[in-house]
Amino acid sequence: MHSKKNLSGYIFIIPAALIYFTVIVLPAVYSFYLSFFKWNGIGPNRKFVGLNNYYHILFEDVIFERAALNNTIWILLVLTITVGFALSMALLLNRQFRGRTLFRGILYFPYVLSGVMVAIIWTWVYHPQLGLISGFLQLFNLQEYYSSPLAGVKTAFFAIYAAALWQGFGAPMILFLAGLKTIPVELYEAATIDGANRSQTFINITIPMLRETFVIVFATQIISAMKLYDIVYAMTEGGPANRTHTMATWMVRQTFIFANVGKGTSIAVVMVLVLMVVIIPYVMFMAKDTGK
């Protein structure tokens, strides 16, 4: 009796489940299958090569190694600089003051731009002759010492990160703001009455109370760092000298430019495996029945 009543509840899930299955699950499984073949994506000639594609990308492909390193560097940069900056901004915005909504809107604003637009803007900022930086140096006649950081093998990736920081800190900032709102004011009042100073309340109240927010921020930031594509592709296409490739840009290049479907899909599978390490604990955390 009870179970019959509940069966109708599943009807509400069917549309989402069907679309999800056809767009994500099925293609992902099929790609996994394709990663064991050598195939150009068009012709009928598919050759089973076992784990060869994996062996190649993991042990022979220096560009893949560079790309994996880049993703790692990116994760570290995001977890320290982006998250730190976002948290400081959220703390500033969490005070009561006039014009709060306006400032919040401004700080968040770059996040509404697409990676492609950010890339266009910052390529211009860095432009060796016509850009903002070179224009600024021109005022002091220092322009001749300037070359675009996007052209340097050592600087290009960090130059992309600077653009991404400008664009991206707004999202974790909003998450932190939302988290800060859930901390009861009484906690701070009690602490102040007990004579705690600002840094003490920050360490003993704010940080622990933001635990859940930190989990979400870290997880979402790591996920998007692993999938990093748009802004890199639009700013450097992986250059100069293949130094700024990420796993995602290298995967797309292998698959759609070099027509190495097997290699491309095996890169994607490696990405998924690495992401699982982050996501499974995160998903468990999100799905557990807390409180209530």
């Binding site: 509940n6 509840g9 599943y10 509400f12 549309p15 989402a16 679309i19 056809t22 767009v23 994500i24 293609p27 992902a28 790609s31 500033l92 005070r95 009561q96 003051f97 014009g99 909504t101 919040r104 809107g105 700080l107 604003f109 509404v112 697409s114 492609v116 637009m117 266009i120 211009w124 900022v125 432009h127 850009g131 903002l132 224009g135 600024f136 400008w166 939302a178 709102k181 859930t182 701070y188 009042e189 102040t192 996920i223 692993m226 748009d230 639009a234 797309v252 698959t255 759609f256 479907v261 491309g264 899909t265 994607a268 990405m271 998924v272 992401l275 982050v278 998903v283 955390f285 799905a287």
Partner: protein, 290 residues
Amino acid sequence: MSMTINSVTGIPLRPRKHSKLKKLPFYICMVALSSLILFPILFLVLTSLKSPTEFFGRSVFSLPRQFTLINFSKAFIEGKLSRYILNGLFLCALKVPLGILIESSAAFSIARLKIRFANGIFILFLIGMMIPMQICLVPLNIGLRTLNLFNTYSGLIFVYLGFGIPFGILILRGFFRTIPQELDEAAIIDGCSKMSLFTKIILPLAKPAVATLLILDTLGTWNEYLLISVFITNDNMRTVPAGLLSFIGENETAYGLLSAGVLISIIPVLIVFIIFQRHFVEGMSGALKG
């Protein structure tokens, strides 16, 4: 935390004037930060108002001698931005409401209907967040071509819907759970069907979460680049990001034109952002409480 009022007695702890003055450094700090963020945009505006000769002839920091809107009209017409913007609006208008409907109905079932395996189903959906879109591209490409949906908006929207589902369900389920469960029981006792419980009670109460999702989804669809550049090869069907990139290819350093293009394409998202940003933090915190 600036505490200027004693919470027990309600008496201000410090005289008002004093506290206002104390806020001055804080305001200076905020203004400085905001200007830093807006700096590149400001120069975009300046550059877009200069004629090409003026842009190449003088410093980037100079004010335009003669304000001109030629860049805007050129970007709009020759750059086909008007076309790309219409395409983007069309895609958003179809994808976003449809997506929210599908996601919220699934989230409603998971969060409110006490179905069995609700948590397991939720986890299966969430796993989708870890799958990089790129892994699905080749099979989707084959599938869409076989079904004659390649280069069609129906195919693209279907793919967009799929990739939007995990995040949509995450946000909506989180918020739905914060609505008191007693409401459902009362409604069911009053003879309310599951469908009307969903459309008449839960959905209206979840406005902040729906608004949040509406902004994020509109932005995501408007800004999406990877999928549309793979599945839509017809230039007339592209949206703003891909359009702007091909525009760059043709006008390498015509930064006046590019700035105008970027500015024009920001306007629609800016409008959505301003309208809905009030609900934003509230909607996010609902999702956070999980």
